[in-house]
């Protein structure tokens, strides 16, 4: 279906392409006839007929006489020559642009009133634009005499003038400059474009959330992702679109969200590496002036105009204590003054393939069964089988036990085992749990404005049927904004309202209830089949003798009966008032109100195993009377969790920006803001819930109830939880930038943040942070004569960023626990030891950079080198346990990092076929320099599920036991204290860190992308290669302990087939032999040894993008201004990887479960502009 649509679209594109060729070919001639027509009228006719743009100044027209001309199909150049023959004007044609110039006075003729001929001398110079392109036809006027000359094709001119004379250099579409003559060779004279005079040419400026900083005057490190780039890819989430196109921004993969008891505290998005240990690792996100407190997934990417990433201290320190991890500033679209209504409609469909469930090579079902048979023979399951009646065993073990008991024959067993051997649970999982993803995205926006009012309204709708069946996602976004300009543009009032709502149905978590590789989940008719789950089947079949609820677990029914819906509602109201007091001075007041609510409802009906199990577990049967008591009533169980937040942001701001005679430009900004964010989480549970009547039962949460299996007794979980948080911040800030002569810029900023940090004296609640920067546009200097590199700028900044950790306090604090103790009393625990010297974390960053552009921008780019030092980082340090605590969390850690951000843009082809390349190269490596917490044993450091800072290495590093191959009986050997050893427990528990090998960083220190874009007429094609180097991962291998686990552990990897089996195998394999009984430390050693460490390096073809634009100019009668068709293919695949294990380093399989790389997807879309 979708493929058909794709084919149709392609056909349309091709047809349009041919139409366009003929349109272009016929447009180079002019037909015009008229008598005494103003020149302006002729120009309009030329523009209409040729598609060329004519540039002129009004003084040109004043000097010109009306023309009389009559020509038919005359080539453009001939027409123009004829037109200007009797005029004081001339013309230059460049890139479909006709520039009107003054005719040069005849050489050798002295200018009028040139009285001082004796002292005058020829003065030369070259006029270019900021990218070094010569401005042919620029006018150079001698101010004293009003005589002028025109620059030639190379932008060069010679004028007779005296020392000290002032030249006025001007060109259409550019700002005029006055230059005082100091030498006979003026060198290069740069003219800057007018911002509004030339459509399609973007003057870039950076939005810091407080102000727009023109690129030329920036000293800090910024990365900007413009609208074109944001829309290059297709995704629901806007931040996903930054991946691979933003310099200095890493998207970390293989993130372990929360394992065991310890949060590993990784960030998905890391700007310039890492500079905190235990505090917030995430970047600050600003949406239209204020920090965004809502869920980022609710922002509609189609409303986003541009994204600026603030990387160094000078760029981000205006955000003070929140800027330590960098800042992402999202700017949404606004209307424009004096622009008629524009309507833009965008829609796209995405199809993603079904995930490859066989990506992770499992051991075969036959092998797995062989192991179960082996273990059964060894008596491994005896204690489980003979112990309590309910402990779970696998079907194979049950079958073997039945055979021993004589209830089944050997033939029956063989037959059944053969059936199992040929089954792979992934077949059913793939069939019932996974599907192709199907995603749709629609958006429409209206914008425009008159001289007093500009507006932008938009609506968006997303609908996603993700790879997991029974799940879906819907999002509706509405946005409306107005800007009113009042009282001669002295007052500007901004209003903006955004409303986002999404519904997530998460009925399928991807887990299917069994780890046995040979289970079937459905019969031939698609009916759900039971799998062993928690209890033994023979137990659940007979327990309660029919008085209990069905206790069997059928994964497919669980999927079908699941109901887990989250409704996310989020809205923001922005009000702004700006008043221009005098020229350059503005006072503004900004207010934002945000409110969000996430409402999660998990309803486990009586049909679900969860509810049946809860009811059964608490049931008691009086066997004398046969009566059954059910402390948990029959009916569903509803879990409801609500998260609400409300935030108020107020900002008062004074800005002053002005340029003064003599080339001084000054911007000053000062203000204060107050932020208040209140959040409340509450959850509760209802038992015996009936959705049709919304009724439930009162419960006894105090008494202990003996469980049906009689193994223990417990209270009925109430799941009642309430927590409120309040984060208040008051900030004062100021910054200033001063530029002299467009060559030298200095910037500085200072900010103080105060917050309601708990239990701190008021004078310690704040932190002052500052930054300073300087930039030098050396290419603007008179002595600069490197013609091939007309743009060269140096930048240097230094300053402090901060980070917030509301989790620590200065006084002894206690936390009330959510649950009461077993006697029903409230309990509290001491959560924070007294820490009177608690301080805020600080990150110092020095940034050194070069910006450059060669002539015609053939090669342009920037190179930034930075050094970061994080001090006073909140980290634990060990404490004598006799004090009552084992660790003390305070400002005890330090880190440093350095890195390089390189962006290079090249224009490789400029003709009809254009070819651009953007090359991003990033290097970022951090190192823990001070960390006092006890190192413990080396075994702990081999686990990647823990935050294991180790001084001298990156925060996230891979450490391994030293591997010395297999011995002659297949046992793995380690190097312990310089000798080979098989003392696995002592290897694991060793505290000698020489026995631990540092393999390298887990996150790639080198990463980047190469994006090639080709355009040919209205066709555009681009593809993106991404690369990561210098990182390491550990591949999974066979874990016999998991394999042996009685409940039927995860099947293990196909490495089982490569295990040591006979002497001599040690020469060709690293997989240890299977042994019984098991030493878990032996497994642990092998799995965490250097033998399984792989290099992560790779090059990936990330995506392809193709678009075709049709405009009204090309197709007359087209009902739209522009139509864009686009196709975007994502996750195409690896081109090269360093490892030979078939593992995509961004998707490293874990030892259990299903891991798979993001499936390939293709999106097709259409964008209409009216």
């Amino acid at each position: 279906m979708q493929i058909k649509l794709l084919m149709k679209l392609t056909a349309i594109f091709l047809t349009m392409a041919f139409l366009n060729v003929s349109a272009e070919g016929s447009s180079q001639t002019v037909t015009f006839s008229g008598r005494n027509v103003p020149l302006k009228k002729v120009f309009t006719a030329i523009e209409r007929q040729t598609g060329f743009v004519v540039f002129y100044n009004y003084d040109h027209l004043e000097q010109a006489n009306p023309v009389t001309i009559s020509e038919k199909d005359l080539p453009l150049v001939s027409f123009l020559q004829k037109l200007f023959r009797d005029q004081p004007l001339d013309f230059v044609i460049k890139n479909k642009t006709i520039v009107i110039t003054h005719k040069s006075p005849a050489p050798g003729l002295p200018g009028p009133q040139d009285n001082d001929a004796g002292q005058s001398q020829p003065v030369t110079g070259t006029v270019t634009d900021s990218s070094g392109v010569p401005l042919a036809g620029a006018t150079i006027t001698l101010k004293r005499t009003k005589t002028f000359v025109t620059a030639n094709q190379d932008g060069q001119f010679t004028v007779q003038a005296n020392m000290g004379d002032v030249l006025v250099v001007s060109f259409v579409g550019f700002q005029s400059r006055e230059i005082r003559i100091g030498s006979a060779a003026l060198g290069r004279i740069l003219l800057k474009r007018y911002v509004s005079s030339l459509s399609g040419v973007e003057v870039r400026s950076y939005n810091t959330g407080y102000q727009q900083i023109p690129k030329e005057r920036a000293t800090g490190a910024f990365a900007i992702v413009d609208n074109e780039l944001i829309n290059r890819s297709v995704s629901i989430n806007v931040l996903d679109r930054l991946e691979n196109v933003t310099s200095g921004v890493a998207f970390n993969k293989n993130i372990i969200v929360n394992r065991a008891y310890q949060q590993i505290n990784q960030a998905t998005i890391a700007i310039r590496g890492r500079s905190t240990i235990n505090s917030n690792p995430n970047s600050l996100v600003i949406l239209d002036n204020f920090p965004y407190d809502g869920d980022l997934s609710t922002i509609n990417p189609n409303d986003v105009e541009s994204i600026t990433v603030l990387k160094d201290a000078a760029a981000s320190s205006i955000w003070g204590a929140f800027s330590g991890n960098g800042v992402i500033v999202i700017t949404t679209k606004k209307g424009k003054y004096n622009q008629p209504l524009k309507v833009s409609v965008n829609g796209n469909f995405t199809i993603a393939a079904k995930p490859d469930l066989h990506y992770q090579p499992w051991m075969s079902s036959a092998d797995y069964i062989e192991i179960e048979q082996f273990l059964y023979g060894k008596g491994f399951y005896n204690s489980t089988l003979s112990g309590n009646a309910y402990s779970q065993v696998s079907p194979v073990v049950q079958l073997l036990a039945d055979q021993t008991a004589g209830t089944v024959t050997a033939d029956q067993v063989t037959a059944q085992l053969n059936t199992y051997r040929n089954q792979d649970v992934r077949d059913d999982v793939g069939k019932y749990f996974f599907r192709k993803e199907d995603r749709q995205q629609y958006s429409v926006n209206l914008s425009g404005g008159d001289s007093h009012d500009k507006y932008y309204f938009s609506g968006g709708y997303d609908y996603d049927l993700p790879n997991l069946t029974y799940n879906n996602y819907k999002r509706v976004t509405v946005k409306g904004g107005n800007v009113f300009s009042l009282w001669k543009q002295k007052i500007e009032i901004t209003t903006d309202v955004q409303f986002n709502q999404s519904t997530t149905t998460l009925n399928n978590t991807g887990s299917y209830g069994t780890s046995l590789p040979y289970m079937k989940l459905a019969d031939a008719n698609g009916n759900a089949l039971a799998v062993p789950y928690t209890y033994r089947q023979t137990y659940t079949d007979t327990a309660g003798q029919g008085k209990l609820l069905d206790w069997t677990y059928r994964p497919l029914d669980e999927l079908r009966n699941a109901s887990n819906v989250t409704l996310l509602t989020d809205y923001h109201i922005n009000l702004g008032l700006k008043y221009r007091i005098i020229k350059g001075l503005e006072a503004s007041f900004l207010y934002q109100y945000s409110k969000g609510n996430s409402d999660d409802e998990v309803y486990n009906s009586l049909a679900t195993w969860y509810t049946r199990n809860m009811i059964n577990s608490f049931s008691q049967i009086n066997w004398t009377t046969g009566a059954i008591t059910r402390p948990i009533p029959l009916g569903g169980i509803l879990d409801k969790t609500q998260n609400n937040y409300e935030s108020n942001n107020v900002r008062g701001l004074l800005t002053y920006a002005n340029t003064f005679d003599g080339g001084h430009a000054l911007t000053v900004l000062a203000g204060a803001e107050v932020r208040k964010n209140d959040a409340f989480t509450s959850s509760y549970r209802l038992y015996g819930y009936d959705p049709s009547t919304t009724t439930s039962f009162n419960m006894d949460y105090v008494d202990l109830f003996t469980q049906y299996t009689a193994s223990y007794s417990q209270q009925i979980p109430s799941n009642i939880y309430n927590l409120g948080t309040v984060n208040n911040y008051i900030s004062y800030f100021a910054n200033a930038g001063y530029t002299y002569n467009e060559r030298y810029t200095i910037t500085g900023s200072a900010r103080r943040d105060e917050s309601n940090l708990f239990g701190v004296n008021t004078n310690q609640k704040g932190v002052p942070l500052w930054s300073a920067g300087a930039a030098w546009n050396i290419s603007h200097e008179n002595f600069y004569h490197v013609d091939w590199l007309p743009n060269l700028k140096f930048r240097l900044t230094d300053g402090y960023q901060g980070n917030v950790n509301p989790g620590v306090a200065a006084l002894t604090t206690a936390t009330y626990g959510g649950a009461n103790n077993v006697y029903g009393a409230q309990q509290a625990s001491i959560s924070n030891l007294p820490n009177p010297t608690l301080r805020w974390e600080k990150v110092n960053q020095v940034n050194m950079a070069i910006d450059f552009a060669s002539i015609h921008n053939t090669i342009s780019g920037s190179i930034d080198y930075y050094i970061k030092k994080g001090t006073d980082l909140i980290a634990p340090s060990p404490l004598d346990p006799t004090t009552g605590a084992t660790s003390f969390t305070g400002n005890t850690g330090d880190m440093k990092a350095h890195g390089l951000d390189v962006t290079i843009n090249t224009i490789n082809l400029k003709g009809r076929l254009k070819w651009y390349t953007t090359f991003l190269f990033n290097y970022a490596l951090d190192e823990v320099t001070v960390y006092k917490a006890n190192k413990g044993s080396i075994g702990i450091y081999t686990g990647t599920g823990f935050l294991n800072p180790n001084v001298g290495h990156p925060l996230y590093s891979l450490y391994s036991f030293k591997w010395a191959g297999l011995d002659s009986v297949g046992n793995p050997r380690a190097i312990l204290d310089g000798k080979t050893s098989e003392d696995y427990a002592n290897i694991y528990n060793s505290t000698n860190f020489d026995n631990l090998k540092y393999d390298g960083p887990i996150n790639p220190p080198i990463f980047g992308s190469i994006r090639n874009t080709f355009t040919w007429k209205q066709l555009s094609f681009s593809f993106l290669l991404s690369y990561k180097f210098g990182f390491y991962f550990r591949r999974p291998s066979i874990s016999y302990s998991t394999l042996y686990s009685t409940a039927g552990g995860y099947g293990g990897t196909a490495d089982y087939e490569r295990r040591w089996q006979k002497p001599g195998d040690e020469l060709r394999t690293i997989v240890p032999s299977m042994v019984y009984p098991l030493d878990p430390y032996r497994d642990g050693f092998y799995l965490n040894s250097t033998a399984l460490v792989e290099k992560g390096d790779y090059i990936r073809l990330q995506d392809l993008q193709f678009s075709y634009d049709l405009t009204k100019k090309q197709v007359t009668g087209l009902p739209f201004e522009t139509v864009r068709f686009y196709v975007y293919a994502n996750n195409i695949g690896l081109l090269w990887k360093a490892n030979h294990s078939g593992i995509d380093p961004d998707f490293v399989p874990q030892n259990a479960g299903l891991t798979y790389p993001n499936p390939r997807s293709i999106s097709t879309g259409i964008k209409l502009d009216f």
């Binding site: 107050v674 008051i730 708990f758 002894t812 077993v822 006697y823 409230q826 001491i830 009552g884």
Partner: protein, 462 residues
């Protein structure tokens, strides 16, 4: 026109300033707001009670003593699969912990001491009024009890047994009497250690309520203070004082459970059962040392010493595949009970009588207890020929009644060997026999290595 603009300029500036000033007025309120509703600076009676009611911290006791004692044994297979710390403890190795850190047996009691000190200091800062004086007293008594109980439990494992001849020179345990984490840890003498424990208990005695909180048996009370004092004095071999304290406790609370009324179940007793005076358990970590189910096997001689009509056989033990293993005791959970109960008090008082030569009083107490332990109608009261015979019977019954009960067997081994009982423990693992001779320095366990490293206190000689 120019003037008008200027006037507006100033009014705008004024407005801006006014906004900022309003903000600064609210500044204090904003900056003093509590960042999380669950967070408190403990300062109220309710806060302090909640800290002391955190049962998973405050009612946990060490278990390495019990793990070192002879109520149980491990098969070779179970020994192999045990953690190194368990193996070392089981075999009375010189070094037990190796590189292991965060040893619960040390850390939990000292966390209790810290919490008790936080509460004591907080209560001392409170403004006493007519309405809260009673609560302040009660909680002060509670905190003193917790501190004494923790000190005592640590001393049973990590300090040498009390010996009045050497106590003033033997190294005891660090006595931390304030919550200041920067104060150094210094080992007090055994004499000072016990003096501190008794002093805390005596102070607690006057402050705690006389009635047992029957709904919250995790909380101390005056009977609990006396019961603890009885145990402390008994460990010091001050039997007269032990008997007097046990008597004082029994005067206030003396309920016994008739085991005929208890149904055999996985967990026959509840955590609020009538005999419990103060509830505490081995830590969950310690469960790996003496797991209730399936791993530890009850010493064969001990198991055989119960008569067939002794109800404790079925209520204390669970036979799986012919091997007797322990149940959960008075905790009502998988955790092993280690708290204070009336049965122990009867035995302490009986022992005190016997040692004072009062055989009949001693046997009366013993029979009061045992009459509740046998199938109805089958119990024949025990008789003793003399006080020495009574003592032997009481000690034998004490071991049977208090098996796997919070390290009491370990405490008994330490004190009785001091009196010449000459009990030698043996273990056989993989055919090799290990022995623990009486009064060996191995009866004092090594202090966890992380504590030694970070505090610099002296390690026990073993």
């Amino acid at each position: 026109m120019e003037k008008i603009i200027n006037r507006y300029n100033y009014s705008w500036l004024f407005l801006l300033c006014a906004t900022l000033m309003t903000a600064s007025c609210r500044k204090e309120a904003l900056l003093n707001a509590k960042p999380s509703t669950s967070l408190v600076i403990p300062s109220s009676i309710q806060d302090f009670q909640a800290i002391l009611d955190a049962t998973l911290t405050m009612n946990v006791t060490p278990s390495l003593g019990e793990a070192s004692a002879d109520n149980y044994y491990l098969t070779d297979t179970k020994f192999q699969s045990a953690q190194p710390v368990v193996q070392n403890t089981y075999l009375w190795a010189k070094d037990i912990f190796g590189a292991s850190t965060n040893i619960d047996d040390w850390n939990y009691p000292y966390e209790q001491v810290f919490n008790a000190n936080v509460v004591l200091e907080g209560l001392a800062k409170m403004q006493a009024t007519a309405s809260n004086q009673q609560d302040i007293n009660t909680l002060t008594g509670y905190a003193l009890f917790y501190r004494a109980y923790a000190f005592f439990n640590v001393a049973q494992v990590f300090a040498p047994p009390y010996d009045s001849t050497t106590a003033s020179s033997d190294l005891g345990i660090p006595l931390r009497l304030s919550s200041d984490i920067t104060a150094p840890s210094i080992r007090a003498t055994v004499k000072d250690t016990y003096a501190q424990i008794i002093d805390d208990l005596n102070r607690a005695c006057k402050l705690t309520p006389t009635a047992l909180p029957t709904a919250n048996r995790n909380r101390p009370s005056r009977p609990a203070v006396y019961a603890c004092l009885a145990r402390v004095y008994q460990s010091m071999r001050a039997y007269k004082e032990a008997g007097a304290a046990a008597d004082s406790a029994l005067q206030l609370y003396s309920s016994l459970i008739d085991y005929n009324t208890v149904a055999v179940a996985t967990l026959p007793f509840k955590n609020n059962n009538a005999e419990t005076i103060f509830q505490s358990n081995f830590s969950s970590y310690a469960q790996t040392l003496i797991p209730v189910i399936g791993i530890a096997i009850i010493d064969s001689n001990l198991y055989r010493s119960y008569a067939a009509n002794d109800l404790r056989l079925s209520l204390y033990f669970r036979v799986v595949s012919g091997v007797p293993g322990p149940r959960g005791g008075y905790s009502g959970s998988l955790f092993t009970f280690s708290g204070l109960a009336t049965d122990e008090l009867y035995l302490i008082r009986a022992e005190s009588y016997a040692r004072a030569g009062q055989a009949s009083l001693a046997m009366a107490d013993l029979n009061t207890l045992l009459s509740k332990r046998f199938t109805t109608g089958t119990f024949i009261p025990y008789t003793a020929t003399d006080a020495a015979d009574a003592l032997q019977q009481i000690l034998a019954e004490r071991r049977k009644e208090l098996e796997l009960r919070g390290g009491l067997r370990w405490m008994d081994l330490r004190r009785l060997n001091k009196e010449g009982y000459n009990i030698t423990l043996t273990r056989v693992v993989n055919g090799q026999t290990y022995t623990l001779p009486p009064n060996s320095p191995l009866y004092t366990l090594p202090i966890p290595p992380d504590v030694i490293t970070l505090s610099g206190i002296t390690q026990n000689a073993r």
